[in-house]
Every structure is written in C-alpha cells, then in structure tokens.
C-alpha cells in the first residue's frame, strides 16, 4: 500500500511539470511547425534548418514550459465549491457535469538544457516529463451522493495513470533540397533529426478492474485490483523526417513525421506493483469477521519498452510584413504517454506592432479527448536576442476563472 501511495505521489508530482516539444510552441497553441527555426527546428521540422540562418544558442533552462489541465473543473467551479457551506444536488451536478465518465488530469513540462545551431545543423538537449491520470466519475458520484445504485463497475479506461520523463540529445540537419522537382515549381527541402533518449522513469497502469455492489440479496461486495509497471533508467531513440517548402513569398507548407522508431527501453530497474482488495457478500451484522481479503505485491520484471507513437503533422503558414498566420494539423497514430490518437487542429498568429514587440496568439481546437487551448504571448526582440513569455488557457478563450487548465512558457533565443 505504501508503495502505491508513493507511486501516486510520483505521478502527481510530475503532473505539474511540463512536456512539450519546445516551450515556445505554447505561444502559438502548438501551431508551430513552420515557425520553429534554428535549434527548435530540431524538434518541429528539421527541414527548416537553413544554411542562411544565423547561428543560435540555447541558454540552459531559458526555454521553459509547463502545463496542468483537467477536463471538468475550472477555476470558477473550484471557487464556487470552496465558497459553499453546503453542497446541494445542483452544486454536485455542476461539479460532475463535464466529466464525461472520468475526471482526467494531465500535466507536463519541457525545458531546454543546451542547444546550438549552425547553418543547416543543430544539436540540442531538453528534458521532458509528462503525466496523465483519470479517475472514474462513478467514484466521485459515490463520494458526493453515496451508493444510490446497486452496482458500480469501474474500468481501466476511466481509471488509469501514466507518467514518463526523459531527456533527449538531438541532432538535426535540414535544408536538403529534394531533387527532380521542376524548377518552375516551388522547391521542397527536407531534413531529419535523430534523438538519443535517456529515460528517467516510466510509470503506467497495466491492469485495473473494480466493482462495488450492494443489495439486499447479496450484501455488499467490492473488488479493486490494480497492477502498475515502473521502469527506472532507460535509453531509446526517436527520429523525425520533415519537408518544407516556400510555396510563395508569403506562403509556406510543411509535413513532418515524428517519433519514427520512437521507443525507450527501460533497463536499470523494472518492477511490477500490484494491489488487490476484495470482499464478498458483506453485511454489517458480520462486519466483525475477517471480511476483506487484500494483498499487495511487487516483483522485479524484465526490461520493457515504452513506445512513442508516431505522429504526423501538416502545416501551412501565411506570412506578412506585420505578422503571420499558421495552421497545423497533428494526428497521433495511437495513444501513448506523449501522444493522442485523436487529431487536432491549431491556428497561430504573430503580429509585429513594432519590430521589437512580437505578439502571438494561438488556438488549438478541442476534441473529445483534448480541450480547446488558447495562447497569448508577448516578446521583446533586441537585435539578435528575443525573450518572450506566454500564457495558455484550456477550454476557455480568456485565461481566467473559466479555464480548465493553464500553461505558461518562457523563451529566450540568442542568435549571432
């Protein structure tokens, strides 16, 4: 039991860190593929590593992004709940109404460790952590209403947790002109990046099943069983291929395929934790008896791999003297700790009211699994150095009390 609590604490702890491709993508709500240049192109589209670009360095920890979000509770609801003396039925329904089966919490973070780009090449390192978890709405209904129904069945899809943390050392090369394209057509450049991944830890629910029943004939029965796999210390690899084309002076397009051969093999210490508790046909009259059968176990297991699901991204961007507009579509091929199988569309805009002050706006449309995200960013650009910060709101256009999550990012780019 103690190990499970530690496990849950670890998950919650890392849920407050960040995990994105780069922190600056928060400025544009992930509509960033064609905006990334220099070192960041390593992660977004290495085809954009250009020989004509200035050299750039990453100051350690200067790029930092973090987010935490959930699918149902916003600040308004939180303030409402904590300010109430007594929760009435309508209040309880307000808490539960957006859960859609489960309360899902996710969090993550990313920060730069070092980076350097020169010409069409770049090498960089960043640290990533990501966590998500879900608890069934039925648990919360039990806590708020009690056991009004005879049967509650809990499934793994609504009761799970996973977290992963890793660092990468990535090398990328771009600006590779694809031959055989007629000269009167826009030229297409390609690039690639390869990342060595050093895994710090991986925790994930392997199996979960649970139920709780109570009726006159059978008494109360419950069963909870959870198995979780933990891996500490691993290494892996991922790669990205990208193409990019400046279709006109104002229009760019690009496609990337990320996480090719993406995996981390956990080697150092791997363990399977399990816990179960079960009681059958319990009546209060015989509660003095030894009615609950429970046990926990942990056993070392062989090394295992966490695969990073491939992700396809397509983007276009319209550029103007005073700004730009971009649109990205990203589609993960399956669910993993860092990817969603549900596609999402995001838009980004950059405005330059003055050359020194870039403003940014991003909107990522929500889906059944991913909330709406809206970003606002501001920067300060002085010669070859640019510093910026951004705030992102989940499920609310304006960051504030209606937000179900928030992300914050800072970014510093130094070119020379």
């Amino acid at each position: 039991m103690k190990k499970l609590i530690i496990f849950a604490a670890i998950v919650c702890c890392f849920a407050s860190l960040g995990a994105l491709s780069t922190a600056r993508s928060i400025f544009f709500a992930d509509s960033y593929m064609l905006r990334a240049s220099g070192i960041e192109a390593n992660y977004w589209n290495p085809a954009k590593l250009s020989r004509s670009s200035p050299k750039e360095i990453w100051v350690p920890l200067s790029d930092f992004g973090i987010f935490v979000a959930n699918n149902s509770m916003n600040l308004d609801t939180y303030n409402f709940v904590v300010s109430r003396d007594t929760l009435q039925t309508a209040d309880k329904e307000r808490i539960l109404r957006d859960m859609d089966g489960a309360l899902r919490i996710s969090g993550g973070g990313n920060m730069s460790l070092f980076g350097f780009s020169w010409g069409n090449q770049a090498i960089s390192s960043s640290m990533n952590a990501y966590a998500k978890g879900a608890i069934s709405e039925k648990f919360l209904r039990l806590a708020l209403y009690g056991n009004l129904e005879d049967e509650y069945i809990f499934y793994e899809s609504n009761n799970n947790a996973s977290s992963i943390a890793f660092t990468d050392i990535t090398y990328g090369m771009g600006d590779i002109l694809i031959p055989w394209i007629p000269e009167d057509l826009p030229q297409v450049k390609a690039g690639f990046s390869a990342s060595f991944l050093a895994g710090l830890y991986n925790v994930s629910t392997q199996d979960y099943e649970g139920y709780f029943t109570s009726d006159l004939d059978s008494g109360a029965s419950f069963h909870q069983q959870i198995n979780a796999r933990v891996g500490l210390g691993g290494f892996g690899f991922k790669s990205m291929l990208g193409v990019h084309s400046e279709i006109t002076d104002y229009l760019e397009a690009g496609i990337t395929l990320d996480n090719i051969f993406g995996m981390i093999s956990w080697q150092m210490h791997n363990e399977l934790f399990g816990f179960y508790a079960t009681a059958d046909s319990v009546y209060a009259a015989n509660v003095d008896e030894d009615i609950v059968d429970y046990d926990d176990f942990s056993e070392e297991i062989d090394s295992f791999s966490s695969s990073l699901a491939p992700e396809l991204r397509m983007a276009v961007m319209y550029k103007h003297r005073y700004g730009s507009l971009s649109m990205d579509w990203v589609q993960g091929f399956r669910e993993s700790s860092v990817t969603n199988a549900t596609g999402r569309l995001s838009f980004g805009a950059s405005v330059l009211p003055t050359p020194m002050i870039p403003l940014s706006l991003g909107v990522s449309l929500g889906s059944s699994r991913v909330p709406l995200k809206v970003s606002y960013g501001i920067g300060l650009r002085i010669k070859h150095t640019e510093f910026g910060m951004a705030l992102q709101s989940f499920d609310s256009i304006i960051p504030g009390s209606s937000s179900k999550g928030v992300a914050f990012a800072t970014s510093m780019r130094i070119g020379f």
């Binding site: 209403y145 109570s214 004939d217 501001i378 705030l391 504030g400």
Partner: protein
C-alpha cells in the same frame, strides 16, 4: 508604444482577475445503503435443551422438570401394653401362656420386625431358697439365630431389664399378625411339684421401634418434601391472553422402595407473580393415583400421566411449577408389606406443553424497557453527521405466527405504551404468518427523521417492545425443523453529512 502598454495592462488585468480562493471543504450529504443482514433464524435455535425442547417429530414444546422425594421412613413404632405382676411360679411345672402385648388402635399390625430400640423388664420375687432353676422364655422374640429370648433368675430379686435392640419379633413372611407373646416358664426345686416357689412379673410398656417392619397399616402417611421447578422464561405481559395452549401433560415417574402400595395425593401449583393456580393430581377417572409397591429385590416403579387441568395451569404461563401437599398413604388397600427405616419414595416429574396454540389478536408487552447506552463518539456522529436513517426489511416467514412489533423509544424507562407522553416515538413492523404467505413478503421501510435520531444524542435511551400477534386460523403447531425459520434481509439507509474530514 501606447499600444504595447495597453496590451500589457490588458494582460495583467486578465491575470489579476483570477481570484483563487483558499481551499475549504464544504459540507454535503450523501446516502449510504449498507446491507445489514441476510440471515435465517431457525426456530430450532430457540431450543435450549432445558425449557424449550424439540421432539422427535420436530414439534416444539416447553418442558420443565422437577423432583420430589420423601425423607427416609425411619423406624416404625409400636406401643406395647404388657403388664404381668406377681404371677405364681409352681415348682416342677413347665407352663406356657399367651399374653396380648399390643395396645389397641395403633393403626398397624406387626407380623415381623427387627427391633431398633425397645426393652422388656422382668422380675422374680419371693424366690424359695430351694429353687434350682427359674427362667422365662418369650418365643416370639428371638435373636437373629432364632434362639428365643430367655430371662433367667440369677439370685437377685431386682427387676431385670432386657434391651431388645437386635431382636426380632415374629417370623419372616408370616401370614399372621403378631398380637400376643407366648411366655414359657421353667421352674425346678427340691420341693414337691406344684409348690409355689416364686412370683414373676413382666412389663413391656415403652415403645418399641422397628428398623424393619413387616405387617400392614390401616393408614400410614408419608409426607414428601417441597419441590419447586422453575421455568426460565420471561413471559411478556399479555402472552396468556394472546396465546392459548391446547394441551399440557404432567408425567411423574415414581420409584417406591417401600414394600407397600401407596396412594399418591398432591397438587400441582403454578405461580406467576401474584397469580397462583392449583390443580389436584388425579387420574383420568378423578381418583388419586396408586403407586406400585417395591419388593425385597427392587423398588416399585410407577409412571403417572396427567392430562386434566394441566392446560389450565400452563395457560397462565407460570414462572414456577411445584408439587405441593404431596404425600403417600399406606392404607388398608395396601395389604401386608415390608419397609425398612431407610426406605424412601422418589419422584421425577415433567411438565410438557406442546407448542400447539391458538393465537389471538391481543397486545403483548415486554415488561421491562431495554436500556441502550450511546457512547460519546456515536452521539457526536449522530448529532453532526447523521441526517436521517432508515431500515428496509424484507422477511420470509415459515412459521405460522405473525404479528406487528412496536418499538417504543423514550428517555425514561417508565414507558407506558398507552401513554404517548411517556415515550418519544414508536416504530412498527409487521410480519405476516406463514398461513398468510410463505414467500418473501413485500419490503417494508422504517424511517427515522433527524428529530427522531436526535434522541440518540442522549447518553441513555430506552426501548420497550410491544407485539400484537396476527390471529391464527385455528390451532397452529410450531415446529423446529430445517424448514421452520424466519428469513430476514435488511438494508440500512443513512443520510450522512460529510464534514470535518
């Protein structure tokens, strides 16, 4: 630049508008449904092998047992009246005479006996010096060897006292009553025959006690000691009006060590509180029972079965049953027999009341209220966290007894079910008998409001039960077999206020 400042201010306003209140947990109510019980309560579990018994046909019956015995009969006394003074004794003449020795109207006739205590006295006076032999023999008094009692003149003219202890009177198994003693006098002297040589006197006036007595009695009464049999059942008030028992039996097994047939006289008395009811112990013809005589080898055994009157006695639901004024009488119908002083009469009796009942609709009230102590932790929980409670119950009654149970809750033990001022609230639950339905009955719900629950914030609460039985359709029998049970399922429903977690 102004636009930049405006934008920055707008962003700051947006962010500062986000008020995040201090975490505080509100209070809310939730409903807990807790399965409480799902059990079968078998009638056979009521059997305690003491007062509630199951017979070979699984019929329940109430049983109480007691013992009765007499003290040892002790010695049988006779009162002799033998006086013979200064009878002349003639020399050379052996003569024999019989002399009555029993006083009249003693109510018994001796045929044979072993003397425990008693004496006889004789004197030879005026004895001529020429007397050679002078003796008196009493033939019916003899030693164990059969040698008759002989009293000889030994030179003294004082009274000679003979202790009769150990002597026997009469002959064993004699068919004749012993009412006279045969006296034989032997006298010789140097004088011619028929010469008076002495005067003889013989007296036996003190009672003679026999440790073994054979004979008959006209009326000899042996009293039994007290016998009380308790029934460890606390009857609720009104049970005698609500339930009518159909029959009851008294069985008495008597072991009689006396060699006499006896008449048994006694009464069965039941007591409950101030109520007393008494019935004579008589046979089906209304006569006293006569019990078998014992023999020399074994006691006599009698088994008496009494029906009449017992139902009336047991209908009062007695707490104690006793046989009183019990006595055994040896009378002229008993004939001749033998008894020893250590002989007794013992009796084991059993009262059986089969649970064959007719049930009436009449309130039954448990006399004493039950005190329920509520500890401080639970009082606080009830006060703060328990907003309401209820009990959903479903029953299957396989017993032909049904009724409605009323639970009266109050703050004092002086709960009067007829006085609403004496209790706080009452809850009732009806269970139909198997004559109505042997299937699971419709679930019933007992709800306790917050006001009613607040009663349990007191350190002590009192509960008094009252029942009204469902009238039976004729006579019902209560069996205690594997199919005779009450099945009960219940679910506790509680509305809990969650706070201070």
């Amino acid at each position: 630049m102004k636009r930049i400042i405006l934008f920055l201010m707008l962003a700051l306003i947006l962010l500062s508008a986000c008020e995040i209140k201090e975490p505080a947990l509100p209070v809310w109510d939730l409903d807990l449904n807790i399965p409480l019980i799902n059990e079968r309560y078998y009638v056979s579990d009521l059997a305690d092998s003491v007062n509630l018994i199951v017979d070979e046909n699984d019929l329940m019956y109430m049983l109480t047992e007691g013992e009765l015995d007499t003290p040892e009969v002790g010695e049988i006394n006779i009162y002799p009246n033998l006086e013979l003074f200064d009878a002349p004794v003639l020399s050379g003449i052996e003569f024999s005479q019989t002399s009555p020795f029993m006083a009249d109207e003693q109510g018994l006739h001796l045929r044979y006996g072993l003397v425990e205590s008693g004496s006889i006295s004789a004197r030879f006076a005026g004895v001529d010096p020429a007397t050679e032999i002078l003796s008196l023999s009493i033939l019916e008094i003899h030693q164990p060897s059969g040698e008759a009692l002989v009293i000889e003149y030994a030179g003294s003219e004082e009274w000679i006292h003979i202790d009769l202890a150990g002597y026997y009177f009469g002959a064993l198994e004699s068919a004749q009553d012993l009412s006279e003693l045969t006296l034989e006098v032997t006298a010789t002297s140097s004088h011619p025959d028929f010469t008076p040589i002495a005067e003889m006197s013989l007296v036996m006036l003190e009672p003679v006690s026999f440790s073994v007595f054979q004979g008959d009695f006209e009326n000899y009464e042996i009293l039994a000691g007290e016998s009380v049999a308790s029934i460890e059942i606390e009857y609720p008030h009104g049970i005698d009006e609500a339930v009518q028992v159909s029959e009851a039996f008294l069985e008495i097994e008597i072991v009689n060590e006396l060699g006499f047939e006896c008449e048994f006289i006694g009464f069965m008395r039941g007591i409950r509180g101030d109520l007393t009811r008494m019935v004579p112990i008589l046979d089906d013809d209304g006569e006293h029972f006569r019990i078998e005589a014992g023999s020399a080898d074994e006691p006599g055994y009698s088994n008496l079965l009494i029906h009449d009157g017992l139902q009336i006695l047991m209908q009062m639901m007695p707490e104690t049953i006793e046989i009183i004024d019990a006595r055994f009488i040896i009378d002229s119908q008993s004939g001749s027999g033998m008894m020893r002083k250590e002989d007794t009469i013992r009796a084991d009796y059993t009262v059986r009341v089969p649970f064959r009942l007719t049930v009436f609709e009449y309130p039954i009230t448990i006399q004493d209220a039950t005190e329920i102590e509520v500890d401080e932790d639970n009082r606080d929980l009830i006060d703060k966290n328990l907003m309401g409670a209820g009990l959903i119950m479903q029953a299957q009654n396989m017993i032909p007894l049904g009724g409605t149970a009323y639970a009266y809750f109050g703050t004092s033990s002086d709960i009067d079910v007829d006085d609403p001022q004496s209790f706080s609230f009452v809850k009732s639950l009806t269970l139909h008998s198997s004559q109505t339905s042997s299937d699971w009955q419709e679930p019933v719900s007992l709800e306790l409001s917050k006001t009613e629950l607040n009663l349990f914030t007191l350190p002590r609460v009192y509960l008094k039960w009252s029942f009204v039985l469902e009238p039976s359709d004729g006579e019902v029998e209560i069996y205690a077999g594997p199919d005779d049970f009450i099945g009960l399922k219940s679910m506790l429903h509680a509305k809990i206020r969650v706070e201070d977690i």
